[in-house]
């Protein structure tokens, strides 16, 4: 008669099984779990502890494999670009309106502005309290026009178009280039403002360039990536 321990050993490690159940794609789940259980059963008579270690190791490597694939997946990219647009476009829109109208703010927010840390400003209560007021008051859309940003966005889109024509880029490559060109003015601006103490009248145009370059590029890059993703899935069919 089998002991309780022997019966327990025949069941692969439960936590590893559970993790695999969650991670594995549905169409191969049964086959992978079946293969692992089959091999585990063959290893068990030699050394039960080693068999369990082997199963856990296989589970870990498999999880890492499929998680890496997921990170590079089209689905995740689609979600990421849509989410980025939905969040950043209104935030930057409101931020530019607020910056154009703000006369007075707290010391903390002022320090963030002078250092170019707009991402920190975006999470302060003071900004959101002023921001809603500013948007409802603001009528002049010319505050959203910034020539250096227009030039940067034009050159960036041209550059991406040129690279894409030379060798057709994947959606991931487009997203990577787009993100790099969107973020470069922001990162350079933040670095410059934190390294050199600039008076407020000089900081304003720099912040405008940092924010509006991103703003102008977000929608075209998102549309381009989505178009490429749709092309990719049409090609696959």
């Amino acid at each position: 008669m089998k002991s309780h321990r022997q019966t327990q050993d025949q069941i692969p490690p439960k936590l590893s099984c559970a993790v695999l159940e969650i991670t594995l794609p549905a169409h191969i789940k049964d086959q992978v779990l079946g293969d692992l259980q089959e091999e585990y059963g063959k290893r068990l008579p030699d050394n039960a502890a080693a068999a369990r270690r082997w199963y856990r190791y296989q589970a870990l490597r498999t999880v890492v494999q499929y998680f890496s694939q997921f990170l590079g997946s089209d689905k995740l990219l689609k979600v990421a670009v849509i989410l980025a647009s939905f969040i950043l476009v209104p935030v930057i829109f409101v931020m530019v309106a607020w910056l154009s109208n703000v006369d007075d703010t707290t010391e903390r927010v002022l320090q963030y502005l002078l250092a170019g840390d707009m991402h920190k400003v975006a999470i302060t209560r003071e900004f959101w309290a002023y921001a809603v007021q500013s948007v409802s008051q603001q009528k002049d859309l010319f505050m959203y026009v910034n020539m250096p940003s227009v030039m940067w966005a034009s050159v960036s889109l041209f550059w991406i178009g040129y690279k894409n024509k030379k060798q057709l880029m994947t959606a991931h490559q487009l997203a990577l280039w787009g993100s790099a060109l969107m973020l470069l003015p922001y990162l350079l601006g933040t670095f410059y403002l934190s390294a050199f103490a600039m008076p407020p009248r000089v900081v304003g145009p720099i912040i405008a360039f940092m924010l509006l370059s991103l703003f102008y590029l977000l929608v075209p890059v998102t549309c381009w990536v989505m178009y490429r993703l749709r092309q990719g899935s049409a090609d696959a069919k």
Partner: protein, 113 residues
């Protein structure tokens, strides 16, 4: 098929050869075992299935569901088979390697057969 897709990676070649050697009995655990026994390669089952899926998408392999067994917890096996396209790609890879090896000699160290 794009130019890139016509060439087989090293692991893809090894997997296709394993399928040819195993014939009708080529399923996940058996392929893994063969690779371990023949070339001492301890392949993660996830990496193996990832490669098989990729090969199936390229049309070099096809698969069918087999029987479920108690030792597999009642789960069915999936058998894989190399298609004509896969065999062509393998021959191409072998010819390419043979051509590159022409005129190359590597001296083996002492003690190695």
């Amino acid at each position: 098929m794009s130019e890139k897709e016509k060439f087989l990676g090293e692991f893809e070649q090894v997997v296709l050869l394993a399928l040819l050697r195993l014939g009708e009995g080529a399923y996940g655990a058996a392929i893994r075992q063969l690779l371990h026994d023949q070339i001492s390669r301890d392949v993660a089952i996830g990496a193996l299935y990832s490669t098989l899926e990729r090969l199936e998408k390229k049309g070099m392999v096809n698969s069918r569901l087999g029987e479920a067994t108690a030792e597999r917890g009642g789960r069915a096996k999936r058998y894989f088979k190399v298609t004509a396209s896969g065999q062509t790609a393998l021959k191409r890879a072998r010819n390419a390697m043979n051509n590159m090896w022409q005129g190359v000699s590597i001296k083996l160290g002492a003690g190695i057969a």
